[in-house]
Symmetry: C2
Subunit: 322 residues, 2 copies
């Protein structure tokens, strides 16, 4: 099993670091700032419309790096595999990781595999960690320290596709849908924006906990508030419909190929224009702004014009969604 897995990885992930690697890859790096992130993926099911756990793991880590302003460079992969997991499924997942890594321009440079007895894990879990180089001028986007009232909030497209796509694949979900996960690497889109625009104040990818969670974390403990306008939030009709039917809130649905950006009002339409020209940003929209009122809070202006406070999600709306 181990030998077979090693061969799979060599076949699909081949690069000079993996080939010479012992216990760790030694990588060249310019001085400055490095972004470093980790995520474990336990998504159920492993294969879903629009992707699989392997694609998800690469996109998730690439995007976590990209939203700190980093140029994603190197990825490590740790597999925990249940004994008896079909090799053809593993190969398909590994291939998908290789394809996605290539698409994102990152190299898989370190790896580890553990096999556990049948029943000791659920098919396959993947951890990916990643590092990227952060240009000096982008260091602040990870901290949100430069965010101020008047700044505009932009999302790069429809929210909730990933969450609903996974959910609708689960056993017992009563509706057939044609929804696909939005799972995609965003470093291309984000890189283009950072290249042209110096006034990006903050970025985050709204994965677990969705847009609401990103904005609550942004506002928490700050002297400003966050206003979002419900009618401006891009949500597919199908997602809205399913949410109404099954009691979910699109604001909390996870995405795997969207970015929320806070930018200076002077550049917000330019940022949206750049997004619109990218396949990953076609449906981008300004969804709100940073305000003086309600410091530390996120306020939603509803379709009917009312206002309500948005709270951090307590617990998990959708377990094993990523």
């Amino acid at each position: 099993m181990h030998e077979l897995i090693r061969q799979l990885f060599v076949k699909y992930f081949r690069n000079r670091w993996l080939e010479t690697a012992g216990d760790a890859a030694v990588l060249p790096l310019e001085s400055g700032h490095i972004s470093f992130t980790t995520d474990s993926y336990v998504v159920d099911p492993l294969f879903f419309p629009g992707g699989d756990i392997g694609k998800l793991a690469i996109c998730g880590t690439v995007n976590d790096l990209a939203v700190t302003g980093a140029l994603p460079l190197f990825i490590s992969v740790g597999f925990i595999i249940e004994e008896g997991f079909p090799v053809k499924d593993l190969e398909s997942i590994v291939r998908s990781m290789a394809v996605t890594a290539k698409q994102a321009g990152v190299q898989i440079v370190a790896g580890d595999t553990k096999v556990v007895n049948k029943g000791k894990c659920d098919k396959l879990f993947i951890n990916t960690s990643g590092m990227g180089q952060v240009p000096e001028k982008c260091i602040h986007v990870a901290s949100a320290d430069l965010v101020k009232p008047g700044d505009q909030i932009i999302i790069s497209g429809y929210t909730g596709d990933h969450g609903m796509a996974i959910l609708s694949q689960r056993k017992g979900f009563p509706m057939k849908t044609r929804l696909k996960s939005d799972c995609t690497p965003l470093n291309g889109l984000i890189g283009t924006i950072l290249e042209h625009i110096n006034q990006v104040r903050f970025m985050r990818d709204p994965t677990r906990g969705g847009v609401a969670t990103v904005l609550c974390e942004l506002a928490e403990g700050r002297s400003f508030g966050v206003l979002i306008r419900e009618p401006d939030l891009p949500v597919r009709e199908e997602v809205t419909g399913l949410c109404e039917m099954f009691g979910f809130d699109p604001l909390y649905l996870p995405n795997e190929g969207k970015v929320v950006m806070v930018v200076d009002p002077a550049v917000s339409s330019q940022v949206v224009d750049i997004m619109h020209r990218h396949p990953e940003g076609e449906h981008a929209a300004v969804i709100g702004e940073i305000i003086d009122e309600n410091p530390g809070r996120v306020v939603l202006e509803t379709v009917t014009g009312g206002r309500r406070i948005i709270h951090m999600l307590t617990g998990e709306q959708l377990p094993r969604i990523c």
Copy 2:
């Protein structure tokens, strides 16, 4: 559960990067070479004499970095937790990670937690990834390109303690032992040696697959052979006895606090002396040398003076040992 876990991590892992961190930590780094590694830990049992899965995860990653010549700096941690796992056990493991990280001088700067339903994983799995800075003069130790005949092979102490300590804790193991895992961070010991000695040619920590595997990987495809002398290999009497009784070979038993070094013959006694002055290297010994004969092979000179070829372990001698 998530909130509780977050509080635990903040309590024990507190540092300025974790506090400001969003999806990734942004870290300052000098230019040059970076060592990057990942490992998942699925050890069973989670608590064992000499350590626990948390200590193991930190030591394992610190040591994987240290043997590439790197100064270990930053660690990420990914937890996959089975629903219902006792919080007091989790706290004890997290505390042990914090203590070990402090001992090793590394900072835990990024983390992730996934909780899966009861029965979907076996209590707790941990992934740690790590990065360290490699001084220019140490870059070669990761590659073994400078190793040549005459070089001496040193191990920093008794081999096999970790493997036997874990095994003897397993259900159904018929013997009580007082063996403890050797699980410890080695960056102090290794750092001291690299500071004083420029002729370290290669290093590796003999974890999964033991000393035999490290040496087989070193020799594989090379124009030199590796000779080891069985009588010179430090093995505790208790480990030797258990191995004979249950059919294990100490050469393949995993360690979590040992390093195998290949050094220029001119400095080998000096390296052993330095090791002897360190608590982690008290029982260090020269166990063999690089030879002209048997290129690509590892040859064992047995207690009786015979010679046999040592092969790579096929399959795993001891599953879930790390």
